[in-house]
């Protein structure tokens, strides 16, 4: 009660003659800044849609569902890049989420106090590495390692199993959706783990201490106290990472293979929306080709928007079921 009264007072301070004008000006500036982002976003989306109109008019829905990307014949379908983008991002999250939460938990609960600072700084430095460095590392060091050690093993042990076998078949060339997904996973770990670490350390000590007093193990504290308490912030962090993975260009271009082939196998090369645009834009010399690439950019907008909307709805539903909000 006291807190709301205080914040009301902050929001509507007693008007003073000299300060009123400046205050209004400040309000306008902040409002303008906030609206500017929204206008910028809408403007970008609209101009991408406008640039891609030729592709959408020519192919209609087939632009989204078509698998052909035949420049010579002038046939463009975005299904392969969309599929490649979603699959690599999904692999990235499958790797990054558990590792990031593990890192955050270790740093807030388990690590000796003197080591927390240096490890946290090291992880945040990972986020500062330019993505092209990850791409070069992926191509020169990680892809040959995948080709000679990991992929032959996967094909030998999982390649003939029903259902999942199709995911791990094909020649071990080291470049493909699995390699790209793993590199992306490493790239998004610092984003998710640094947010997770901060929200974990914001959990009131009293809650954790109570759990310890009731005889909880570390796992029980994590799964019944820390994670439920920080759920919305953690989901937010995961989607921050997902947003980064969806749009990542350079690192993916290096290790994904840039081939417009649709393959069930994760070991085979594919393409992503961002990589296709980066690779092909300079040589797109027909109007339809250029328009198709801009339309691809618009679809990346749409994919990101849909994913974020699903995240928000998910969050809303969880919170409603629990009948509370954090």
């Amino acid at each position: 009660m006291n807190a709301t009264a205080a914040s009301d007072a902050l929001a509507n301070p007693r008007p003073r003659k000299s300060g009123a004008g400046a205050d209004r000006l400040f309000q306008w500036i902040t409002a303008g800044s906030a609206w500017f982002v929204l206008i910028l976003l809408a403007g970008t989306a609209a101009s991408m849609a406008w640039g891609g109109r030729l592709a959408f008019q020519t192919f209609g829905w087939h632009f989204v569902t078509g698998r052909d990307w035949d420049v010579g014949a002038g046939k463009f379908g975005a299904f392969v890049p969309i599929y490649g983008t979603l699959v690599t991002s999904a692999i990235a999250l499958i790797i990054a989420v558990p590792v990031s939460i593990g890192i955050a938990l270790f740093l807030t609960d388990i690590a000796p106090r003197w080591s927390r600072g240096p490890i946290a700084i090291a992880i945040e430095l990972l986020a500062a590495i330019p993505s092209i460095i990850y791409g070069m590392w992926g191509l020169f060091i990680f892809a040959p390692f995948m080709a000679t050690h990991v992929e032959p093993w996967l094909t030998a042990h999982l390649g003939d199993k029903p259902f999942i076998g199709a995911l791990f078949s094909g020649p071990p060339i080291g470049i493909g959706m699995l390699t790209a997904g793993i590199v992306l996973g490493i790239m998004v770990i610092p984003f998710i783990s640094s947010v997770a670490r901060e929200v974990f350390s914001a959990v009131p000590p009293a809650l954790r201490e109570s759990a310890v007093a009731l005889g909880s193990t570390r796992w029980e504290i994590l799964s019944r106290v820390t994670l439920p308490y920080t759920r919305s912030a953690i989901i937010g962090a995961v989607f921050l990472g997902l947003g980064r993975a969806l749009g990542e260009t350079m690192a993916v271009t290096f290790v994904l293979g840039n081939a417009h082939d649709l393959s069930a196998s994760l070991l085979m090369p594919s393409n992503s929306i961002a990589a296709a645009i980066a690779n092909e834009f300079t040589e797109a010399d027909t109007d339809l080709y250029r328009s198709s690439l801009i339309a691809l950019g618009f679809l990346l907008f749409v994919v990101t928007f849909i994913v974020l909307t699903i995240a928000k709805l998910l969050l809303l539903r969880i919170n409603r079921q629990l009948g509370r909000t954090h």
Binding site: D68, W69, D70, V71, G72, A73, L139, F140, A143, P144, A147, T148, P171, I173, G174, I175, T253, G257, N258, A259, H260, P269, A278, N279, E280, T282, E283, A284, D285
Partner: protein, 344 residues
Amino acid sequence: MKKISLALPLVALVAACGSNSGGQQGGQGAAGVTGAGSTFVYPVLSAWAADYRKQGGADINYQSIGSGGGIAQVKAGTVDFGATDQPLASDDLAKSNLAQFPIVVGGIVPVVNVAGIPAGKLKLTGALLADIYAGKVKNWNDPAIVQLNPGVNLPGAAIAVVHRSDGSGTTFNFTHYLSQVSPTWKSGPGEGKTVNWAAGVGGKGNEGVAAYVKQLPNSLGYVEYAYVMQNKMAYALLQNSAGNFVAPSAAAFAAAAQTADWSHAQDFNLVMTNASGAQAYPIAASTFILLPKQPKDKAKSQSAIAFFKYALEKGTAQANKLDYVPLPGPLVQQIETYIGANIK
């Protein structure tokens, strides 16, 4: 502390703006000639430009944005000249009122990365190369490859095929060659700056393909000759139309340039692949310069022509040093007559 961190980016921004506008002024100065296009010709063109400036010539500002981009820019009139690895047809040139001539010759070379196979050991034919890129020949120990290479220890591994991911004049010349030697390739993927690849991974630019071939075991790719030399890659021998297996070399590209019938090619619209000489390399390629026939800025067009004359006549040593092949003497004369007749 806060003040410093705020001020620093501002200083950088101001500095960036300053240098940026300075650069633009330099490019738009009276003597500055701008060009754009082919990435293949960029190393030799920039070396020529540096030599030319040292001798008191005009500033040549060349942006290697790719052949397609160069064609678009010179058609739009935003640059003084364009450079492309794929010659334009005469009617296309007439429509845009452009003149076209070759400037330098190079070659496109199949390179492999197979353990135990050094440069020049593996023999390939054009038809076999087409079958590999079409995904019909999948393994290194395929009978078709073994038959050509008795005594070479070929692994049972799959061939990791590498092609270009971006549109490219290199790809155009390579697929033009495959279309000539393989009817199934001609009716299938065909020729173009990008085609519908049936197999393989795509690298961006010559350097991207070179990097993929070096990194991927059991791979096969195609790159410009200069990249083979610089990266010391294992090239394969290629059978020419006379039936000889030839290694890529300046002499073999020159042999192809000499047997090509330039005098009957209108606007030099000629692709040199599958040339007929006994020692001719089968995938020789040239880069073409595009200049407007009625330039808006005559002074700039004249300084561009002076530069290309310098390059054709005096740039031969520099071209050789960078693993390109200068054009043969009679062709240079033919080009200079063509320029005099066509560009006002």
